[in-house]
Symmetry: C2
Subunit: 154 residues, 2 copies
Amino acid sequence: MTDLNLRDGEAAVAPPAATDAGLVFIGRIQTPWTRREACPRQGSADGPLCAIEVFAPWVEALDGVAQYPTLEIFYWMSQARRDLVRQNPANDGRIRGTFSLRSPIRPNPIATYIVSLEGMEGGRLQVRGLDCLDGTPLLDIKPDRRCFAPSKVD
Amino acid sequence: MTDLNLRDGEAAVAPPAATDAGLVFIGRIQTPWTRREACPRQGSADGPLCAIEVFAPWVEALDGVAQYPTLEIFYWMSQARRDLVRQNPANDGRIRGTFSLRSPIRPNPIATYIVSLEGMEGGRLQVRGLDCLDGTPLLDIKPDRRCFAPSKVD
């Protein structure tokens, strides 16, 4: 069956069911972008202020976060298809495997982004550096790994 | 009810069911460490060679990966509890919130690591820089974000 949403050279597979582990959405990201086409290709440190709202019962887990100037945010790209193994990115037209791209389209559409923390009050963080849709589900917040003793590649 | 596995000052919550989204395990990581206590606290660029085995139908998605000297590996820390909001890390004894730690214990125990790619054959990658248990489930492989045009914080 021809999939009309595939670009030239793209390949889809019939993936196994995504039931090996389950995720809980721990919050929601608020951004200025309400359509995928409007999202920037990549977040920027001088981009607009975005808000991260952490849901109960996880607000207590934010204790100590304010000491880090930069944080790693994990979120779920809920609108991305998950079955492509080969992609033809619109921006350069070089067909290649999904794992050689940072495209949202992947078997497990988890994104990570480094953001700068601009403010925090209760369960609400103000950050810069995101690129995602308004309403994107939040999966995790971690201190930027560069705040810890580095290894050579990390 | 007292949870005997909690250290002083730690707090657990009754988390919502982890059913908001599902993950598929796309491969398996082979390391020298078969017990959690034996794992290094952090991977190192001069650590032992580890193998990443990618399962069908995802092997085709590796096309183009070999051009990147460093990759970001996402894996699932299946043995970690998910209900702590406040932790008392053994290595420093400062009690703080889960989101101010990179501990495996978190609502969604997803780890990311930057590894150096040392070799690749078919669906099997040889890498250095991991710190996880032998048999750890693989979630994703992405090019290291530093290989792309940088923003200021990213």
